[in-house]
Each structure stands twice: as C-alpha cells, then as structure tokens.
Symmetry: C2
Subunit: 337 residues, 2 copies
C-alpha cells in the first residue's frame, strides 16, 4: 500500500505539463506556481462534495466520482464564459477506502476530464477521515479583460435561454434512491432500461457546457449567465437578485429531458425541470436585439428561449395554460429553515 | 436560523474589498474574478482539515479553528516567499453545528487573520455533512517573477536555518490528549499553568512566518524553503529529495520551544522537535557566502543555523555528542504502511 507521499508522486508523474500550460511548478512544493496570460482575469471557484449528502458510495463508481468532482467546478467556469486552466483537488478518505483501488480509479476519471479540456492538475491535499469520503474541487479559469459574464448584468426585456434539457439529473437521482443501479449499456436502442441508464448518467456524469460559455463570451452575446446547479427556480432567482430584475418563463417552452417524456413521468416532469437541480446546463440572458445571433446548437447541444427578464425586482413568474403563477425558489438548500 | 444563501450574504457583507485588493468580483457569482498584478506569478495552495483527524471539537474554539484553517495555508505561501492575496474557504458542517453559533465564530477567527495580512476572502462553498466538521482552505499568493523560493534549489554546502522554535505544537497536542484545556490566561507570569497554555496555543493558533518568507525572497537570501508542518525530519527530507542533496543537523543547535525546557520534558524534547510537526516555522537554506546577511530576527522571531546541506543524496544525519545518526523521516503521515 502506498502512503500519501508515494501516491502524490504517482499522480505528479501522470500530470506532465505542456509548454503552454502556464504551470511554472506543479505538484510537489508548498504551493503550485502558475503564470497567468497578460491582461487576463482569473476566475476562481470551489465545490465541496460530501459522501451521504452529495453522493452515495454504492451509487457511483470512483471514476465517475472523479469526473463529477471536476465537472461541477468546470461548470462554474463555463458559467463565467471563461476557459478553465488549472485545478486542485483535496480528498479525504477513510483508511479502508485508501487501501482499495478507489484512489487510482478516482484520479483516472478526474484526469480524463481534465485532459479533455486541457486543464492542468497542479495541487491538492490528501487526508484520512473517520468514516466518509470528502472531496473539495478547485478550478482556476482565465478570460480576457471584461469578458467574464456575471449574474448581475441582466436587463428587463432580455430574453432567457437555457442550454440542453432539464430534469434528467433529478429523475436520475430518484432512480438511484429507488435502488436502480448503473450498468454498462451495450445497446443503443431506446428501451426503458436504456432511458434509465441515461438518466443515471445525467446525474452521475454531468458534462460542463464550456463551449457554450466561451462562445457567448467571445461574441459578447450574453448579458448574464449562471449554471443550473441548485435548480432552475433557484438559479433564475439568483440572476434576478444580483441584477435587480424579475423574470417570467413559459412552462411549455422549458426543455424537458427527452428521457422523462419517454418514461411517462408527465405529471412531475415540470417540477423536476424547475426544481430538480444538478443538470449543470447554462441559463443566460440576451438582449432581444442580439438574440438572432445565438447559435442553434454548439457541439450537439441546443439552446432554448424560455422567457424574459422584467422590471419587477425579485419576482419570478411561470406562465402555464394562459395563467401566471409565482415561482418560488425551491432548489436544493443544505440547511432549510 | 439562516439558510446557507442568507449566511453567505452576511459573510459577503463583511468582506468589503479595498481598491488595491485586485478583486474584480468577490463572493456572489459562479466564480470569483481576480486581477493579478502585471508580470507576477501566482502561488496556489490548499489544506484539508478534518474533525477527529486534524482537530477535535472540544479542544479548539470555533474562532481558533477559523484562524488555524487560514494560517496553515498562509504558512505554505510564506514558504514560497510570497505575499498572500486571495482566499477561499469550503466548510462542511453537521446540521446541529450549523444551528449553533459555530459558523459566526469560525468566520470571525478566519476573517481577523485574513484582515491582518490583507488577504481578501473571495469565495468558498458550504455543505452539510453527516457527522463531522470538514474544512478546506485555499489561498492564492503573488510574487514577482522568478522570486518564488522552491524546495528544489538547495546546494551542498548551503547552511540550514530554522525560524522560531520547534516541538511546542507537538507537546501542546500531547497536553490536549491528556485532557488539559485552553483557558483565557490573565497572568503573564511564566507559571507551569501558563507554559501549558502557551503550548496549547502553539498547536491551536499557529502564526504564519510571512515576514520572514517575504524578506528572504526580496533579498534573494534563501536557495530553498519549506514550512515545517509534517515535522523537521520529514520536511528536511522533502528538501533533500527535491534538491537531490543530503543534509546534517546538529542536535545541540535545534531551537527547542522554551516552554518544553520549562516543563522538564528534556528526554523527549529532541524527539518532539524532530518529529512533532505542526510548528509552522520555516526551514530554509542559504549559500554560506550570504549567510551573514540573514537578519538576526524579524518581528521578534529569530532564525537559527542548525546544519548544512551535503552531496549524499537523500541522506540526512543528526550529530549529537560527537556521534552521527541517520535521521529517518518520522513526521506525520495519514496512511502509514
């Protein structure tokens, strides 16, 4: 069995830097050293994942957990319209997990995703824990000056867009709670079984919408942006609060995960899409004059216009069958009143 | 009781940025935005603190835990010779701790130390946990190009210096294990009781040696540097491994915490100083030609020459009463073989 110093050396050897990585000194000193590009801003984000709260050991493979730990932070960088460049990962493991293959497989999943987006792993920390797995993911991104897309610049009249589809992750989580397990799917046919597996993967293997985020930034198309991690109702409210605006969305326009319709969950589909969370799609606002410039799709992912920002500060409505309802933020909250 | 979003707003309001903070956008978006100074490198470090492994709830006040969470990362930045500038803190709390005053007091201790060194808190994450407190501290520092001090540039013949004194934190930890508790000390006299309290604080309230680190960098005095967190024997070995050198130290020269001598722990004093860890002093190496330029003290903290680097790669010796012993790294290791 490796001790932590030996294991850190193994990870270090797997993370050779390319010339343009901006890494002066990676893993192996008191701190990593990076060299940001001239006249760029840095974007910094961190996400804590706690066993039994954010995931269960039996539900997710170590590889997928490694993938997801990085993906959720990459999604934050995507939501700023920036390019992710460097990452650190802190991991706390009970001793019996340390002794297993868990850590090798976890880093395999983590590093595969990092390599896909040219993100350099430059550091982290390893600790033992009394009983539960603890992960803290940390990513630094870069964007040209004044090109970051904030939550706070939406204007009344701006149109609201959402990438991809919603609700799949939340139903995936429900299926996991019902005891349905992830299997290696060999068939590509859309059977009920395959729809289940796709929903599980929507929850366990989110894909950050980096190309969308960066395109919107480069073409200056979005006035505000956020990733849908807490849930559409909560995350749209975050935009409203930071921008001092209100909003309405049209129920019929919300892009519902196609696997939900396939499974006839119709009654709760809208609830899952509004409040489910963890879809890691992007919600962004666009001036109506520039809305025609929004690409139909990027890398196979479409964007859908679902509503409009208003001047009624912090009031969000949903229109459904000619009626208008107040939409309260019902997304995930660790410490509810 | 506040939910996490309400509490994050409270923390955000307490962290007003100054004009020269380099913070474009602090707490409250998907990621924080910072603007590094021109032609500077950034130093990045993270430290995981797990309840029952790194601390016990009954031993440390929430304020001191907040202080220590930041201090250990500032110590890493000090060991690079850099200036800490921005920080993020992730914290996972069991629900019953969330409902207590813990979080307010924790952030008070954390922010007091951050303000002392002009470090801006720009983000973090909050989660619930099943049972234990989990903290991940993250700090970004800045240093002029090529001024960071690595572990890897020590040369045979370089002299080895240590700031402050060693062993106090380890004895403080032993006292905590024996049930001795922290009290508000009103007396300044060095009684046995006060020595105990000072030792507890050496463990619970480490002070990062930032002035020492930055002075050594600015005057280009140190060839290599590390902070003594694992223990002198382990951390000196880290320098040897990264620099492809060996080293010897003289037992009689090691600066032992004065409270240890006061308590007549003589037999184990050297062991505590060599292997105890968590003193967060700096160990640095200096070319013999430049050793006369090392300040006698900075801000009341002295530096002591304890030995010399050699060309016997990865061999560390300790000289004691005219004998030479091999010194094995015996510092802290989460997952021993």
């Amino acid at each position: 069995m490796h001790n932590e110093f030996q294991f850190i050396k193994i990870i270090k050897d797997r993370t050779k830097q390319t010339k343009d990585s901006g890494v002066v000194k990676g893993i192996g000193d008191d701190a990593a050293i990076i060299r940001p590009a001239k006249d760029h801003q840095l974007l910094v984000t961190t996400d804590l994942l706690i066993e039994e709260i954010d995931f269960k050991r039996d539900w997710i493979t170590p590889q997928l957990l490694g993938h997801k730990s990085l993906a959720v932070s990459l999604s934050d960088i995507a939501a700023m319209g920036a390019r992710p460049r460097w990452a650190l990962i802190s991991i706390g493991l009970p001793k019996e997990i340390w002794r297993s293959k868990f850590k090798e497989e976890f880093y395999e999943g983590y590093l595969n995703l990092a390599n896909k987006y040219n993100v350099s792993l430059i550091g982290g920390d390893i600790s033992s824990t009394p009983d539960h797995i603890v992960i803290d993911s940390f990513v630094i991104g870069e964007s040209a000056k004044d090109r970051s897309i904030l939550r706070s610049e939406a204007k009344p009249g701006d149109l609201i867009f959402i990438t991809g589809s919603l609700g799949g992750s939340a139903l995936g989580l429900q299926l996991l709670n019902q005891g349905i397990q992830l299997k290696r799917a060999n068939s590509r046919r859309r059977t009920k079984h395959n729809a289940y597996q796709e929903l599980l993967l929507r929850h366990l293997q989110p894909e950050p919408r980096l190309s969308w985020g960066q395109t919107l930034s480069q073409k200056r198309l979005a006035t505000s942006m956020i990733d849908i991690s807490d849930g559409l109702s909560s995350d749209l409210m975050h935009i409203c609060e930071e921008s001092n605006t209100g909003a309405y969305i049209e129920a019929a326009k919300i892009p519902i995960d196609p696997n939900l319709s396939a499974l006839d969950h119709t009654n709760s589909n809208l609830q899952l899409a509004l409040n489910g969370g963890e879809d890691y799609e992007l919600l962004f606002t666009v001036s109506p004059k520039r809305a025609h410039l929004i690409p139909k799709e990027i890398e196979g992912i479409q964007a859908t216009c679902v509503g409009e920002m208003t001047d009624e500060t912090n009031r969000v409505y949903i229109k459904r069958e000619k009626r208008r309802y107040r939409l309260r933020p019902e997304g995930f909250n660790h410490f509810k009143n």
